[in-house]
Amino acid sequence: MTAARKSLIEVRGLTKRFGGLIAVDGLDFALGEGEVLGLIGPNGAGKSTTFNVLTGGYPASAGSVRLDGEEMLGLPPHRIAARGIMRTFQHNMPFEGMSVADNVLVGAHATMRSGLIPVLLGAGAARMEERAARKRADELIDFVGLGEFRDAAVTTLSFGQGRLLETARALAGEPRIMLFDEPAAGLTPSECDRLAEIVRGIAARGISILLIEHDMRFLLPLADRVVVLNFGRKIADGAPDEIRADPAVVDAYLGEAGGVGAAAGSRAGRPDA
């Protein structure tokens, strides 16, 4: 498990300034192929900012982010999705005017190749692609356990179920890389367990995963490797056991209530880190 993986995403010297405030300062890390990478850190450490830069929400002030060697910084979010990087939203952003199934199908948008004219003419290839996408969406809905809600309106889902929908929707894009934005936030312990199972299932399919997370009990058992941020800088990078014992990490979290091992579990509506 410690054999060198091919780097899928390479982040070099990533810096993000907001006016005078340096949110992220010269961050270097890499996400390997088939790896589950956790990005953790106390409040204000720069995790969310890093995440937003990676997903095209903000431009970076400096540095580079390469996917397969190609620069990704500056791409708008829909292009990033087209490159095979899909994400979930911490505060659940479903499409409220559509059913669960249609929500998941939107996730598959980047994979649909048929042009508008073939669709209009009802060309066979277009129809086949639509049927295949629906089948895949149904499988994903079952995979996350929302099978009985397939045709339900998304407004009827609980927060935890909405999180499962986020996951299925992102998976519909057939990503190579999944980015989870504080997936455990707002979930009950049993919902967390279910989600952890799903994350393992996704990793088993060979998809690389980057998780930013606050909840240590959720993250550490899942991650192959963990990168720890504090004040916008990387302070540690290694296997979960190493991180747990790292004095610098323990120090950073001692400012937080309880420290690394006892970090609180589900928090609904956490402010952005």
Binding site: T55, G56, P76, P77, H78, A81, A82, M86, R87, F89, M93, P94, F95, E96, G97, M98, D102, L105, V106, G107, A108, H109, A110, M112, S114, L116, V119, L120, G122, A126, E130, A133, R169, A170, G173
Partner: protein
Amino acid sequence: MGGAPAQWWLRWVAATAALCVLPFVLQPYELDLYRKLLFWVALAVSYNFLFGITGQMALSHFAFAGIGGYTVVILLTQADLGLGPAIVAALLLAAVLAFIVSFAATRLEGFYLALATLAFAQLLIIVLDEGGTLTGGTGGLTNYALPTVLGLRIDGPWYALVMVGVLLGTLAILLRIDRSWFGRACRAVRDNSEAAAAMGVDVARTKIVAFTLTSVMAAAAGMVYAFFDNTVNPPVFGIENAFLLLFMVIVGGSGSHAGAIVGAVLLKMSQDILEPVVGHYHALGFGIVVVAAILFQPKGLIGAWDNFRRRMKARR
């Protein structure tokens, strides 16, 4: 629209047949109302796609109908083009203008887009009013007629079939693309454009395509309208009707094709029935109905119908 394909085809054929036979059994006065009704339904269906499905609150839809109508008449009478080339040229002009205006749609949200498109519609009216002999000024253009097509004169009930054709064509196209990745992309842009982008939807491109397509459809309807009474004038394409169109979609059920049809039929027929009786004040009723719809049944009449069906099903 559930049911086996055969059932579905049957419904379409039956509806088409009914729509086509009706013109031949109506009195001339009723025929005129019928054709105008079809015109409004066609506009409502395409407007519903723009506003109800893609979430673009534009008030330029009638303006594009006006562009279609005026352009084809001007090209026919003043540029001496044949009917075919005039239609094609008018559609192209509408497409180009819609494409330009659609960029506003990519940069403006909600009511700001509504006002920008309203301003565009106002500018169009001003251009029409001041256009001198080209546009006929405030009185508009009259004194023209549909040229013969292949030696045949199309008027009366036969011309109503042209409107039926444009309506069904509009509906067919929109239904088709709605049940595809594009329709879902439009709804995603409407519901949450940030999430839509994260899922790979090119939000700007979606808005541009939806806006341009539906505006060209409005132009096509406007072209047919131009030959109803062989007159086109500015007030028809102005603000009041733009609001009425918006109200039709809301009352019928914003986002639903059937809702647009129902809303258009209901409001237009109410207008036709009430106007001779209470004059202009039927509009007061419309205002009340719209406010009631938004407050009590935001999904419109179609929503109410769906609720009713669901409750019936639950009883069994």
